[in-house]
Symmetry: C2
Subunit: 106 residues, 2 copies
């Protein structure tokens, strides 16, 4: 593998890694409906607001979301909505795993 290829896989992995956390995945799905203010995330899950801010920062760094400051609030929205296309396949993986588990119990 050339070093160029290596860099490409590292870049791709970074994008996936940004989504590969339950809270961030949830955030991305929430944003599929429309933009949200940081305060809305804070209201909906029970983690420290600084933690929420950092998760959003990871998504932003990866280029998945973008932010927009309006007054005291910061609004986030999906920049590349296709990331949610992943989900149907991820669910297919989970369904496949569940089926296999079920087979084992027969």
């Amino acid at each position: 593998m050339t070093s160029k290829e290596k860099n490409l896989y590292e870049a791709k992995a970074k994008v996936l890694k940004a989504l590969a956390h339950p809270t961030r995945l949830w955030m991305a799905e929430q944003l599929s409906v429309g933009e949200m203010c940081v305060c809305e995330f804070v209201d909906q899950i029970d983690v420290d607001f600084s933690t929420i801010s950092k998760h959003l920062s990871v998504l932003k760094q990866a280029g998945i979301v973008e932010d927009d400051k309006r007054g005291k609030q910061v609004w986030y929205k999906l920049k590349v909505p296709c990331v949610l296309n992943f989900m149907s396949c991820v669910e297919a993986v989970l369904a496949s795993n569940a089926k296999e588990q079920a087979e084992l119990l027969k």
Copy 2:
């Protein structure tokens, strides 16, 4: 968020996390062409064979690949090929990021 929803996001994140490593992503892409023996991975990248085995184990645990032992060799193949559908979107994210970088330099 209910605990059931939380479990679901954790399960989904686990699948994404399995792919969110440069080596494992590369492996998944290699497997899109067809099944491969562990020894073939060993020949193609410069990491310890035990490391390769562990990466394959992560992909297997996540339900993304399955293995098949034949003689001394173990062959891996994609179990849920749709995982590669991710890639076009990941590339779209990278392209978007690159474009933004370019804008900054103007």
